[in-house]
Amino acid sequence: MTAFFHHFMYDFRTGLRDKSLLLLNYLFPLGFYILMGLLMTGLNPTFSPTMIPAMILVAMMACTLLGLPNPVVESREAGIFRSFKINGVPAPSIVTIPVLSSYVHITLVSIIITFTAGPFFNAGIPVNWGYFVLIFLLTTFTFASLGMLIGVVSPNSRSIILFSQLIFLPSMMLGGLMIPSNMLPPALYRISLLLPTVHAMNAWRGLAFELAPVFDPRWSLLILLSSGVIAYALAIYLFNWDSKNRRRGRSPFLALITWVPYILGAIFLAG
């Protein structure tokens, strides 16, 4: 337990110490939040009621999809994981600790957003705080697991940019952050159901803010939970101590299984 604590504290401090991680964990999401608060609330009246969850999702994606995977690849390439293995650091700790420290970074940013968006930008305030926190915990887990899985399966930093942006950019445009996803053209709406942000926004709208959900928010919770669990389990299963020693039969393409719940959602919920 002491070892786990030291490991966690080191990982958490790295998120503050490393300039690029500090940018992705704190500066970018908070800067984006202020910019959106100043611009979007005036331009788009549908934005204000769900500004808090939308900005929290931006913080989650920056921390987990853009920030979390790179240290995983760098540590593997630099032989740091080999050194960890020799010294008895278990693989589940290496996968779990960045997920937990992401929780702390995202929670700190989310507290700032949640308690300032109302007074400063007239954003909607959660009605059901229990659901608000539950959906926050669940969505953070899903994104952090996804970020870790990207780090585990990416052979290099270039691949990380590709995989992360494949989720990040569509989520920013189609993910229900700026406008509700059901306002999208039908074809794009169906595609948007493949994105975790759509389900997080739908769950927050329907359960925490008591706004009209696009579809039953309980399906969104189930999809987020199942994809998060699959991503976390696959991150442990596919984890490699070093780049020259990939374990046989553990193809990185298995990571695509994470998308099965979203695909099923897109098939059965789009109608």
Partner: protein
């Protein structure tokens, strides 16, 4: 039979169709410093990494204190301390964090005394990436031995270090040996191996080309003694000089260098030569073959001095 701490039997490692290690066997005794020597790609690092449990042997067996590194990795990690060739530490980790972190995973108390002993006492809040190469190596060694492992594996521990740091690290290794620690030392530095190792194995293309004590290995070579002579008028440089028992003769800088099968016969005739040519001796060095000479003889037979 001596107390064998490390046993390697018929160890083979293939990468695809390429053989990195081809059926090597050796034992390392308790409290011994065992040198693994060889040119790049000889199989030293593969052997070490397999002993560390990082690679699975294709065939053969390895054991450290009776533990199979690949089958029992959880039992292994408290038995060995490893200083890897690469840094093995995150750049943003401070010296103190690294000590706390690794000691916690080994279930032992942190060793600030070791950091002070290795000259890192004033660097405990410095991040790994800001330390000099020498300090990084010292920290890696401190972390490798902080849990007092009975077996320590060092991969090029003094590469890139200044003379003072090398001497200090050698002292630490001797202290560990005195306490009964078994050390496997992979190095390119022949002088280091000759000075530190009780026995060495020279690896070449995945096989053991020679093994024994440094003295045994050098004695088993061509046996040529190197005689270097500098004189006032350099008469030896102008004329080769046909001296008895000399197998090879080269000129380097101001020195005439002779490789002799019998220095006792060759040296007096050199003196006679200088006398008859009205020349005076400035410098004379007679050196027995070093481990490096023997290493070159084995690994690069075409380029070795003995010819």
């Amino acid at each position: 039979m001596q107390d064998d701490v490390v046993q390697v039997k018929d160890f083979c490692k293939l990468y695809g169709n390429t053989s990195a290690v081809d059926g090597i066997s050796f034992e390392v005794h308790r409290g011994e410093i065992f040198g693994l020597l060889g040119p790049n790609g000889a199989g030293k690092t593969t052997t070490l990494e397999s002993l560390e449990g990082l690679r699975q042997p294709t065939s053969g067996s390895l054991s450290i204190l009776g533990v199979d590194p690949t089958q029992q990795p959880t039992r292994l990690h408290n038995l060995i301390g490893v200083q890897l060739q690469a840094s093995g530490l995150p750049g943003s980790m401070t010296t103190k964090e690294a000590m706390d972190f690794f000691c916690a995973y080994h279930h032992v108390a942190p060793r600030p005394d070791l950091l002070i002993r290795l000259g890192l006492g004033e660097k405990i809040t410095s991040q790994f990436s800001t330390l000099s190469t020498g300090l990084q190596r010292r920290l890696a060694l401190a972390l490798a031995i902080a849990h007092d492992p009975p077996v320590v594996l060092l991969d090029e521990p003094t590469a890139g270090l200044d003379v003072g740091s090398r001497v200090e690290l050698h002292e630490v290794m001797r202290e560990m040996q005195t306490k009964g620690t078994t050390i496997i030392l992979a190095t390119h530095d022949m002088a280091e191996a000759e000075k530190m190792a009780d026995r060495v194995a020279i690896l070449l293309k995945g096989k053991i080309a020679a093994t024994g004590t440094p003295t045994q290995l050098t004695a088993a070579g061509s046996g040529l003694v190197k005689i270097s002579v500098a004189s006032e008028t350099s008469s030896l440089l102008k004329e080769a000089g046909d001296f008895p028992e000399v197998a090879q003769h080269i000129i380097k800088d101001e020195y005439a260098i002779y490789y002799s099968r019998d220095a006792g016969t060759t040296v007096p005739t050199i003196f006679d030569y200088l006398k008859t040519h009205d020349d005076r001796l400035v410098d004379l060095r007679v050196e027995r073959p070093s481990l490096e000479d023997r290493f070159l003889e084995i690994t690069q037979p075409d380029h070795s001095n003995g010819g």
